[in-house]
């Protein structure tokens, strides 16, 4: 049942973009942010809230820009390498960040991401400062496509990756490592006494979450054609957490559902008022207070009742 639902949703997305091509851009970005929010949700499972994951989103987009400048001009290679870049940064940052918990973890992630943001904004000679860097259109298997074609390829590739990566992350969360990650949230002492190195469990999760954010960032960079420091600003990180929580951190689809939900909400809000942040803020508060499982939780509960 759940598989059918998910498949239907993916087909619907594909059809939507086909029916309204301009929506492709928005949907591509939505999926990109969904990846990053999924990364945040992975860490939330361990009870760790990162207000800094936009850094990895941005790092990977910058990575794509630099790699393109260095002459790497293949979509697949760009995606893989820039995700590796953010995973590497994630592993390095994570190796000292995962020692901290609760508010300290949040604060340190914020601090690291703000250093990154400030450096991107201020090192004009390297990063182009607040103007950012262009991310040119790469070739796909050696073929250079026109802009609209490339954007379609990128969208359908993102859609495919959403399914594939989603499945992989789902498997990961269901594996011993994934369960150990959730266990960090409930009882770290017991984990230690099971002989499980919490540090390593978290570092792996942190690296995975950075890679996910990086995948999102690379897609976003390619879709937008430009990367700017604002990608890494703390409010961007806050929005990622928001998407993850709105969708519900319980399952992999939550992050993507959260992104989609925000779209619908915005469509409703914008016809009434310009102040869509107001609505997003209110919705966030309402969801947290009254629907702790997020929107995905609604689906889950329905299913539990019907089965």
């Amino acid at each position: 049942m759940r598989i059918i639902l998910a498949a239907a949703a993916v087909v619907m997305l594909a059809a939507l973009a086909f029916a309204a091509p301009w929506l492709q851009f928005v949907l591509t970005l939505a999926i990109a942010k969904g990846f990053a929010a999924l990364g945040v949700a992975v860490l939330l499972r361990a009870g760790l809230i990162s207000i800094g994951h936009a850094m990895f989103f941005a790092a990977s987009a910058y990575g794509a820009a630099f790699l393109a400048r260095a002459g790497i001009n293949d979509l697949g290679l760009l995606l893989i390498l820039s995700v590796l870049v953010s995973a590497l940064i994630g592993a390095i940052a994570g190796s000292f960040l995962v020692r901290y918990r609760a508010i300290f973890f949040a604060m340190l992630n914020l601090a690291v991401s703000m250093v990154f943001y400030a450096l991107c904004a201020k090192l004009y000679g390297v990063t182009g400062g607040t103007d950012g860097l262009p991310v040119p259109i790469p070739a796909v298997f050696g073929i250079v496509f026109a802009e609209p074609v490339f954007k379609s390829i990128l969208f359908y590739l993102s859609l495919m990756l959403m399914v594939l990566v989603g499945l992989v992350v789902h498997r990961y969360l269901d594996s011993p490592l994934g369960h150990a990650l959730s266990a960090v949230h409930s009882n770290e002492i017991r984990l230690e006494y099971l002989g499980i190195p919490v540090w390593a469990v978290l570092l792996i999760a942190y690296t995975i979450s950075a890679a996910l954010a990086g995948l999102g960032g690379a897609i976003a960079g390619l879709a937008i054609g430009r990367v700017v420091p604002d990608f890494a600003f703390w409010t961007a990180s806050g929005h990622l957490v928001l998407i993850a929580v709105l969708g519900g951190i319980g399952g992999v689809p939550g992050a993507f559902i959260g992104a989609l939900f925000l779209e619908l909400l915005h469509s409703a809000a914008v016809t009434v008022t310009d102040a869509w942040n107001l609505f997003v803020g209110i919705t966030l508060i309402v969801v947290i207070m009254f629907m702790p499982q997020g929107i995905y939780g609604l689906f889950e509960r329905k299913e539990a009742q019907s089965s």
Binding site: D174, S175, P176, H179, H185, N187, I189, R190, Y193, G195
Partner: protein, 248 residues
């Protein structure tokens, strides 16, 4: 007598000036069921904390199979075959009972697989067998935080057993367990320990349990060993009767 598995020598440790151990030494040998009794606040849990690396003594050392483990982490010590069950159960309260068990089983052998699921038929059977042992086989799919306190305690012990330890440290295994269930639990536990050749050290308040199951008893008081010996010897000691057993 055989070589001790675990040996703690000349331990000194203090909290806010209160001495929890003051130069005491203990040893536990292969196949023993060593009970530690003593008044509340005498530092029995602290002793377990030291032996498992959770806190470090001011001075003194802890040896496992003759190797110094004083400065090791609880994790490293656990990986050397020492498991612990806690006075207050330490569970993954948001997870199901069976997941608590399977994670413990995975910790022993299959943690590093990030792609294969935690739940395998093999692991599930093994977990079920242990749950049956402690009498929780009816609760496998419950979220562990919804168990009554006594059952949480049992689960905590089952989790420790799942690690297939050589040495099991039990902190008041029967506290919180109803009087009716106490002896059946201990019977099951003892048979499991014997069957799996697990040495055990347990801190206990219930003198009936101690008298019946301990192979040796050690009386801990104010950071020192007050008396030591077979249960009948120790309970024969007048000082112990007055200061410890009476209180307990």
């Amino acid at each position: 007598m055989s070589r001790p598995i675990l040996e703690a020598k000349n331990l000194r440790v203090a909290f806010n000036g209160v001495k929890a151990a003051d130069g005491a030494s203990i040893a536990i040998h292969d196949g023993e069921f060593l009970a530690i009794i003593g008044p509340n606040g005498s530092g029995k849990t602290t002793l377990l904390n030291i032996c498992t690396g959770y806190i470090r003594p001011i001075s003194g050392s802890v040896l496992l199979d003759g190797n110094d483990i004083t400065r090791m982490s609880p994790r490293a010590i656990a990986r050397r075959g020492v498991a612990r069950a806690f006075q207050i159960p330490q569970l993954f309260s948001a997870q199901r009972v069976i997941d608590n068990m399977m994670l413990a089983l995975a910790a022993k052998d299959g943690l590093w697989s990030a792609i294969r699921p935690l739940e395998t038929a093999e692991r599930r059977d093994e977990a079920k067998a242990l749950l049956e042992l402690v009498g929780l086989d009816g609760d496998t799919d419950r979220i562990s935080s919804t168990l009554p306190e006594g059952h949480r305690k049992l689960l905590d012990i089952a989790v420790a057993l799942a690690l297939k330890p050589r040495l099991l440290l039990l902190d008041e295994p029967t506290s919180g367990v109803s009087a009716l269930e106490r002896f059946p639990l201990m019977e099951a536990l003892m048979s499991a320990l014997r069957q799996r050749r697990i040495t055990a050290l347990f801190v206990e308040h219930d003198m009936d349990v101690v008298a019946r199951y301990a192979s040796r008893v050690l009386v801990w008081n104010a950071g020192n060993i007050m008396a030591e010996g077979r249960p009948d010897e120790v309970f024969g000691n007048a000082q112990v009767r007055e200061r410890v057993v009476g209180v307990a």
